[in-house]
Symmetry: C2
Subunit: 395 residues, 2 copies
């Protein structure tokens, strides 16, 4: 029995303040409605080059190779690990949240030996522990950490880890899925060899592509592999011949509409100015935090290494996670995230990323949360969230 066609596409209106996707810039939505081109059309090739160049600006790199991998952020993660690691290689991976654990899992699937450096959820990885791991293994090929851990809200400082990694002549892979476009990544300055991100966080595009930047050193390692990568779809040696070769060698048909979207999103980011964008993410996050604290809520990550893109809140005792988030979504049209992994049922995650990072969204989520919490019997302590946030906005 055939199912037949479904009805018209009429999704509800939502303000996306979860861990991503975040709201998409209207210019980006419109760009996707542009008719597609052939994958070897000179006009499309020019467009690819424009995207690759704008990505360089945003990653902070003038060297190596940049491209949007044809998959979501996790595809960028897999592309990095599958192309840089060969069976038997040793990787040191920082695991202090859900996405660090994913790095470990994917590295193992490449046949690599993984030395895991853990930290508690909500804390960054200790660079000394990375150094210990580099010392205790004969030859480490790769060190990998998550810059912005979306499961906990922790910003990982990179400078020290990068210096140690360089000292041991290993490659540094960094997950910048949630940081790129909201927090400086500074790939060349810090010395990152492989950095990947997603389009649906601070860049203001829908999910579907993973912007990737690769250093010259990492490219050499990829060129000198003795085995083929276990993935063909994400084989960067082959992808480079299409994205950066003098003669463009067809690999797979790129997702044109998503590339249009990313192109428009990157234009918006660069027109805004990176510094202005970082400052906006910071100010809105500070206002949100002040508001949440003024309502008597407990934040799970100290300000010292708390992301501006994502704030993790301890769910107060006696408050039902599901009930509150459902009401927030259905009655107020606001999506916030629940906890992942160790934080499931214990934390809320409020994202202020890209287009979603606005003063009005901060005020709206604080006001709605305050009302719902009060209705559920939670005693808002010292005062109003909106009031405290407004004070920050007015400074």
């Amino acid at each position: 029995m055939p199912n037949g066609p479904v009805g018209e596409l009429i999704p509800p209106r939502r303000v996306l303040l979860g861990p991503g996707p975040s709201d998409v810039n209207p210019r980006v939505l419109r760009a996707m409605a542009t008719p597609v081109l052939g994958y070897l059309d000179p006009d499309f090739i020019e467009l690819m080059d424009g995207v690759a160049n704008m990505l360089r600006d945003i990653f902070g790199t003038e060297n190596g190779f940049t491209l949007p991998v044809s998959g979501t952020g996790s595809a960028g993660m897999e592309a990095g690990l599958a192309n840089l690691l060969e069976p038997g290689d040793v990787a040191v991976i920082g695991e202090n949240g859900f996405f660090g654990a994913r790095l470990v899992e994917i590295a193992k699937r490449q046949g690599a030996t993984v030395d895991v450096v853990s930290a508690d959820w909500g804390k960054p990885i200790d660079p000394n522990e990375i150094e210990n791991a580099l010392k205790r293994n004969e030859k480490v090929k790769l060190v990998a950490v998550v810059h912005a851990e979306t499961s906990t809200g922790v910003l990982q400082p990179l400078e020290e880890i990068a210096a140690i990694t360089k000292q041991y002549n290993a490659l540094l892979l960094v997950d910048a899925v949630t940081s790129l476009g909201g927090t400086p990544v500074n790939m060349d300055k810090i010395g990152i060899d492989f950095c990947y991100s997603g389009t649906q966080k601070c860049l203001g595009a829908p999910p579907g592509l993973s912007p990737v930047a690769i250093s010259e050193k990492a490219l050499e390692v990829i060129e000198n592999r003795t085995t083929t990568p276990r993935t063909w779809y994400l084989d960067l040696g082959l992808l480079r011949k299409y994205w950066a070769g003098g003669t463009r060698v067809y690999h797979h048909t790129p997702p044109m509409s998503m590339i249009y979207a990313l192109r428009e999103a990157l234009r918006v980011v660069l027109e805004d100015g990176l510094e202005n964008r970082y400052a906006r993410h910071e100010k809105n996050a500070l206002a949100l935090r002040a508001g949440l604290r003024n309502m008597g809520l407990n934040l799970l990550v100290p300000d010292e290494y708390c992301l501006y893109q994502l704030t993790t809140i301890e769910i107060p005792e006696g408050i039902n996670d599901q009930t509150l988030r459902t009401s927030l979504r259905e009655d107020y049209g606001i999506e916030i995230g629940g906890g992942l992994g160790q934080f499931a049922g214990k934390a809320w995650r409020i994202g202020l990323m890209g287009e979603s990072s606005t003063q009005s969204n901060v005020l709206m989520v604080l006001s709605s949360l305050e009302k719902l919490l009060t209705n559920s019997g939670f005693e808002v302590g010292s005062g109003s969230g909106v009031k405290a946030a407004t004070e920050i906005f007015n400074t």
Copy 2:
């Protein structure tokens, strides 16, 4: 030195009559401009279910599991081989074109032993040769063939190969990238275990997703693996927990805008009616072939196993491939494909897929080709291409 933002997105207008992407239905373009939802939003989950159900209709299956894999057609290919094959498994793979060769390459990267069954480019795989391969190997896990070989224009008959494969208790994997939506696939009736396609051919959506259908038998094989698949991004066991689980377990953030696009495209396909759609592809292809032949051009695949979606033409002696295709693109706004692999520089590929398969496109490409060939000194033999095509349309 930063590169700065590029200019406004203003791609040229093209009619896509190459090997894909094909033109996108305007309803589908518009659907992509719809704001995105969270990946666990109940409204999004409902939308996913709708897509999965419509895919069942189009694949011709009531069993197993359907989903759009978050990558292009080649990601669907890799998902199939990486999840069904384990290191040491034996696969028998038909190779009579560029995409058969890709199947072989990807299967090898899974650690499988591949017994290649070849046929000349432009010919289908001989089922007897598949049977010989099944006989000469102790235990074959998987037989793989390309239903519609986009590099040559050959339609592979599946019934006999499916029967033999079943007899030897192997799984049948079929590449339906170019066939789905334009030629019946009949997954259950024929007995296909794993079938994948692309959105940018006969479905009328942009490239970016790979619709996949998996039989119950193949799902069991995936469940009973003794090793994890080498890919995490395309791990179907994990993806199934998100796409079909009672509790939806987050795997990766799906490319919502592309899923909106596919959803709208599938609605259009089912509203058109599959039979009507197949008939349209057939009639337009017959008209194109009649026109090309009437102009004295030589088609590379006999009608007996020639695709309706794609017609391969021998480039006449004395005609410059690049010059003609560039003029067709720049002066007439029409893209046709060059040859791939063995056919590079020797063949043109004219696609009539999905939205691009229209009477007006047939007449336009014949008229433009005729003019350009005549200008290049080619003697159009017995007569006009447009006239011959019109006769077919009027029957």
